[in-house]
């Protein structure tokens, strides 16, 4: 049973200015066996936070509690964690076996036990036939599996993974993603996983921590952060292609933008804006590409949320196609059925499912609910 508490953690690097924190006020309780994913753009502080948990970076302010113990000043080797690095960080002069056994040898396990554990990990990861090879003789995927194996043999209750798949090609990434998920289900370790890939975050996490500029933007299940983003950043970051945003003026249940786009909101949505005091005010309207439709049935349902647009770029993806379209000066992207594929220059009627639209305060960028 291992729980981790990050209580108002701050990190400032030695040469940074007084109030320039790489991570500020990071507050999170991680439950036992939970799979937590830190996600955010490069430089948002996710890896720094992970390294603070690992003990590879000092914590400037705040408390790190692991399993009820204050661990701010504990050396990495005494935190009982295993870590997988983005660039594998294997020992190049050692064989795969020795790479996996190194941590066990240091902990004075006897030889038979080491062999047993390494053999088990190698079997789980399909590395048995490569145990005598050195890392240079392995492919990228195999090297990353060795790095995972090194973590597995340790029997550590906490796994920290710092973008472990970002150096792999797309196909390998998908299979390794499934492998990590399977390992988590088998080993029941508390796992903290850092990535900038929101697909990894959505598919693997029990809970996602979305970060930007050193601050936590939202913590929630993948469904929560996708369906109820707390602010414009989270809404834009989660989802691919990202959410369309329109700077609009809201008045009497109708939103209009400066380029001529006019849409009537369903009653439920306009009620929310009215109650929040946004009548006759500027807001940001956000709508996901998959909530813009080309089917005639949708137009019949939402006739006042349908626009005549011109396709600028179209991409056929097999089952779906992406239409980068324009209404007067307003551009947006829609994911439609492959049957509704249109060539650039075609005129197409697109309907906005405004029941699924999101609204954000123009100044604070917080979601209006």
């Amino acid at each position: 049973m291992v729980e981790i508490d990050l209580n108002h953690i701050y990190k400032r690097y030695a040469n940074a200015e007084e109030n320039n924190y790489a991570v500020s006020d990071f507050d999170l309780h991680i439950k036992d066996k939970e799979f937590i994913v830190f996600v955010g753009p490069s430089g948002c502080g996710k890896s720094t936070t992970l390294r603070m948990i690992a003990g590879l970076e000092d914590i400037t302010k705040g408390e790190l509690i692991i399993d009820g113990k204050y661990e701010n000043d504990t050396a990495p080797k005494d935190r009982n964690i295993a870590m997988v690095f983005q660039n594998y960080a294997l020992y190049p002069h050692m064989t795969v076996f020795d790479n996996m056994a190194f941590g066990l040898k240091l902990r004075k396990y006897d030889k038979d036990k080491i062999k047993e554990k390494v053999d088990y990990a190698a079997k789980v990861l399909g590395l048995t036939e490569y145990l005598d090879r050195k890392p240079a003789a392995l492919s990228g995927g195999q090297r990353q599996r060795v790095a995972l194996g090194r973590a597995i043999v340790r029997d550590a209750p906490i796994f920290l993974m710092d973008e472990p798949l970002s150096n792999l090609d797309a196909k390998l990434r998908v299979s390794m993603r499934a492998e990590i998920a399977r390992l988590h289900q088998e080993l029941h370790t508390t796992t903290i996983y850092v990535t900038h890939d929101q697909t990894e975050a959505m598919t693997m996490a029990d809970r996602i921590v979305v970060m930007s500029m050193g601050e936590v933007q939202q913590i929630g299940t993948p469904k929560e952060v996708y369906e109820s983003p707390k602010n414009k950043f989270v809404a834009g970051f989660i989802g691919s292609p990202s959410m369309n945003f329109f700077d609009v003026h809201y008045k009497d249940g109708i939103v209009t933008d400066s380029e001529g786009l006019t849409l009537k909101l369903p009653e439920g949505r306009s009620k929310v804006l009215d109650e929040a005091g946004y009548d006759d005010k500027d807001v940001t309207l956000g709508i996901r590409p998959e909530d813009i439709h080309a089917e005639g049935a949708m137009e019949e349902t939402f006739p006042e949320a349908t626009v005549e647009s011109e396709v600028v770029v179209s991409e056929l993806l097999g089952a779906t196609s992406m239409l980068y379209s324009r209404v007067d000066g307003t551009e947006f992207v829609a994911i439609v059925d492959a049957r509704d594929y249109h060539k650039p220059g075609d005129k197409v009627r697109l309907t906005f499912d405004l029941n699924k639209a999101h609204f954000f305060d123009e100044k604070t960028t917080d979601a209006i609910r």
Binding site: K77, M83, A89, P92
Partner: protein, 306 residues
């Protein structure tokens, strides 16, 4: 129909025959320019002194002679003792030098070391501003009291700032921070990380600085001139320098018609000089192949994604 020529990756990256020949000739000339002087020195050391006087320097002498080596062999025990001192100083000095250099360089190569800037500048300052001979002499003789000991030949060159900078760069480039962090998480102490992870990865770098250090110790005669008085501690280079000075002195005295004129006639001057060069060069030249096998690049390949 003309069959399509198959092109593989080797063909794509290879030169045409003409270009290949051109580069081979260039490289051959370069190799000869390195080897020929050494060969020439060996040949002169084996040339009869009179033949040298009559026919001058030749690649293939008219008369072969071991007179130069025989003259040096008359010093027998003294020469062997100096050779032993030189070997001892070179081996011990190289081990000490590479240990000090690599530990210092490793410390300043790590971003987690708080005082790395201070110690880097401290090292660079000693490269840029030398304290001079007098200060060194006072430290070695009056402060450390090393005069007339082997340590006087070893310690003054035990740390090389240039090698420190070379190794610092090597550690920074070749030993990824994440490998060290990985070992730290695996439970390794700093000493174990250095000895079991960093050193094996830095073998090419350590071989390079060891070679520099070995050359420095082997060729050093100046420290012996300053600090060594006992005949038992004279290194080879200093002994050869003394022999050379003696020959010079005898030569000057012979021209002024003193009693040493006769003994000078018996000494094959040029051949002895070249024999000394051969004796001084050959052992260190023979050690090159041992170092060479460590000059392998790409030892860290595969450890981290580059």
């Amino acid at each position: 129909m003309k069959k399509k020529k198959k092109i593989d990756s080797v063909t794509v990256h290879s030169f045409s025959r003409g270009t290949d020949l051109f580069f081979n000739i260039i490289v051959g000339i370069f190799a000869l320019s390195c080897l020929l002087p050494l060969f020439f020195v060996i040949v002169i050391s084996l040339t009869d002194e009179n033949a040298l006087a009559t026919y001058g320097y030749r690649l293939w002498p008219k008369v072969w002679s071991f007179a130069g080596y025989k003259y040096l062999a008359t010093m027998g025990g003294e020469l062997l003792r100096s050779l032993w001192i030189s070997v001892l100083v070179t081996v011990v000095g190289t081990v000490i030098n590479s240990t000090f250099t690599s530990t210092y360089a490793y410390a300043i190569s790590r971003s987690s070391f708080k005082y790395r800037r201070f110690f880097t500048v401290f090292c660079l300052v000693t490269m840029l501003f030398s304290p001079g001979m007098v200060a060194n002499y006072i430290v070695v003789t009056n402060m450390l009291h090393l005069k007339d000991t082997l340590w006087a030949l070893i310690l003054p060159m035990a740390v090389s700032p240039f090698n420190i900078i070379v190794m610092r760069t090597f550690f920074k480039r070749q030993v990824s921070e994440s490998i060290i962090e990985s070992a730290r998480i695996d439970g390794a102490s700093e000493m174990r990380i250095f000895t079991q992870i960093v050193i094996p990865l830095a073998v090419p770098g350590i071989a390079t600085i060891s070679l520099f250090a070995a050359l420095g110790y082997w060729n050093d005669w100046f420290n012996a001139l300053l600090y060594i008085q006992s005949d038992n501690l004279v290194p080879l280079q200093y002994l050869l320098m003394k022999i050379q000075s003696n020959i010079e002195m005898l030569s000057q005295n012979a021209s002024s018609g003193t009693q040493f004129g006769g003994s000078l006639m018996a000494i094959p001057k040029e051949a002895t000089r070249m024999a000394m060069v051969v004796i001084a060069t050959l052992p260190i030249a023979c050690s090159y192949p041992f170092f060479q096998k460590y000059f392998v690049r790409g030892l860290t390949i595969g450890g981290v994604k580059e």
